[in-house]
């Protein structure tokens, strides 16, 4: 799908900010990739295909996203790990203001072999941010790795 160079640049910049917030930090920048009422859902592909509504992770609005950030930084207990999102080129529909991109997430826990922890696709609804860029109105992260290697700590 073709999109104007300015929209393509804006989407690339947004996608980079998103993964950098999670992979490099600060994690508190993750909710700021969304509109204030933006929605993030991480769903398993099998549930999506079966028409079942369960999300592995569901944040409705930046407030719930900030709660998730706080819990992961201060409440939850998990082995230290590094995650790395690898995101493919986006397919953008400018008229609909939607975009999709493939994504894989690798996780390294200490000296254990690095593992693929999620793979699938982002299905996004975009909103202009008022300064020429875009934010996520909705991000549906579809994960096709059905058998999670223990935990999915960080958002995909």
């Amino acid at each position: 799908m073709t999109a104007s160079p300015s929209l393509r640049e804006a989407v690339e910049a947004l996608y980079w900010r998103y993964t950098e917030a999670i992979d490099e930090g600060p994690f508190s920048a993750w909710p700021e990739c969304f509109t204030d009422d933006g929605v993030y859902r991480l769903v398993q592909r099998a549930n999506l295909d079966r028409g079942l509504p369960l999300a592995t992770l569901w944040c409705e609005g930046r407030a719930m996203m900030r709660d998730r950030v706080y819990a992961l930084e201060h409440a939850n207990v998990f082995l230290d790990r590094r995650v790395r999102h690898v995101v493919g080129p986006a397919s953008i529909d400018e008229a609909a203001m939607t975009a999709r991109a493939n994504v894989a997430v690798y996780e390294t826990v200490g000296l254990r072999p690095t593992a693929l922890v999620a793979v699938g696709q982002y299905r996004d609804v975009l909103a202009p941010d008022g300064t020429g860029g875009v934010l996520l109105q909705e991000r549906l992260a579809v994960n096709e790795a059905e058998l999670v290697p223990n935990s999915l700590v960080f958002p995909v």
Partner: protein, 406 residues
């Protein structure tokens, strides 16, 4: 395994070799999962339509749950009677027969062998012998029972195991029926994890009320499970099944500070904990473990079954099925889905459990000569009206030792 003996202290100890001995796991498959037990296989709603089937696992054995065209449920082994291939190439399906892709042996949904291509040979040559008896070559059928929309199955004959109601006993049946009360269930979705730990550590975790207050900051801070809430730890007569019960109370400033309490943890998104009481009594959390491999979760309004499938001495698969009721209104479905954020591999609560189980297995597997010290609540294996006891874990191992001859 014959060299293994339980520590002389008895019920207050669990020797670490139970978590790492491969011969023991082989014996567990035979004596427990393939023995006189009722094993969760499905919610009836997963195979609601005639012709539908679900492929799942009991212990190490693949099985298929089917609903035939007359609406009856069957559970058969997922293994062709010909040369042992598994038949199902997907986890769910709908068909009038079960057909092995290799040589097309075709079975009814009840496991009866219906047909074998080329049985008569070609032009008088080859084929199966005249006296081949199809009725002796069906898919092995398991005994099946369903209670209020939950399907269990097991190997061996019906005479070798109690009826389900007796298998649970009256106390456990009371808690089971509180959630599975006969109302039609509604599927919300599945999650799956492979947790790198011995399967018994998962069971112990759900029989251990103490860790809820010490590990789960989220539970303590929001009062969802606290040692100073009204609580109970109950078992059946054998000790193999149990429930942990907690009744949420407001967390006011004068309440005792527990180790896990975080005064800074506040939810901006309050909709996460918009909880509505929906069951009899004031218990807001009921976690039930049913021997050998089922957890029934009622945490506020998030309901799920979790099926434990041991994969290796140091790994098990945990299959979650979240559900509600067909009569739930839109607001209740939303509540359940929001509160599911507490559960599963990303859960605000359950994420911690998978991670500590990883650490637990890493510790115990390297030291088979060691033993766990279970003295919270003394050496009692009786019910308690509090949450500061390890009685349910001791009770579990008392039964385990009987079954395993340890």
């Amino acid at each position: 395994m014959s060299a293994r003996s339980w520590p002389t202290e008895g019920s207050t100890r669990v020797p670490y070799w139970v978590y790492s001995d491969p011969d023991l796991l082989a014996a567990e498959y035979e004596r427990i999962f393939e023995g006189p037990t009722w094993n969760y296989v499905a919610l009836a709603a997963e195979v609601g339509q005639p012709g539908s089937w679900k492929a799942t696992t009991i212990g190490r054995r693949g099985v298929i749950v089917t609903r035939d065209r007359d609406g009856r449920l069957h559970v058969v082994e997922n293994r062709c009677a010909h040369r042992g291939s598994q038949l199902c190439r997907s986890p769910f399906g709908s068909s009038t027969t079960l057909t092995c892709p290799y040589h097309q042996w075709s079975y009814g949904l009840d496991g009866r062998l219906l047909g074998v291509p080329l049985q008569k040979g070609i032009d008088g040559q080859g084929g199966l012998p005249e006296d081949f008896d199809p009725s002796a070559h069906g898919l092995a059928a398991l005994r099946v029972t369903e209670r209020n929309g939950v399907v269990f199955a097991g190997f061996g004959t019906a005479e070798e195991v109690e009826p389900f109601e007796d298998y649970l006993g009256p106390r456990m049946l009371h808690w089971f029926d509180r959630v599975f009360d006969g109302r039609e269930l509604r599927l919300l979705g599945d999650l799956h994890q492979r947790i790198p730990a011995n399967w018994k550590l998962m069971f112990e975790n759900i029989k251990d009320p103490v860790h809820a207050s010490t590990l789960h900051v989220f539970l303590v801070t929001f009062g969802l499970f606290r040692a100073d809430n009204p609580a109970a730890t109950e078992m059946d007569a054998t000790g193999r099944h149990s429930v942990l019960v907690n009744s949420r109370r407001p967390v006011t400033t004068d309440r005792r500070r527990l180790t896990g309490y975080d005064p800074e943890l506040r939810l901006e998104g309050a909709q996460l904990l918009d909880v509505v009481p929906e069951f009899p009594g004031d218990q807001t959390l009921v976690m039930q473990t049913l021997w050998p491999g089922l957890i029934v979760q009622q945490q506020s309004n998030t309901l799920a079954v979790r099926q434990i499938v041991p994969v290796a001495v140091d790994a098990f698969d945990l299959h979650w099925t979240f559900f509600g009721y067909a009569e739930d209104d839109v607001a209740m479905v939303r509540r359940r889905l929001l509160q599911a954020n507490l559960m599963g591999p990303s859960g605000y609560v359950s994420l911690d459990d998978g991670e500590v189980l990883d650490l637990a297995q890493a510790g115990v597997s390297a030291a088979p000569e060691g033993a766990a010290v279970l003295e919270m609540g003394g050496d009692s294996v009786s019910d308690a009206s509090h949450a500061v006891t390890e009685a349910a874990v001791r009770g579990f191992y008392a039964h385990y030792r009987t079954v395993m001859g340890l």
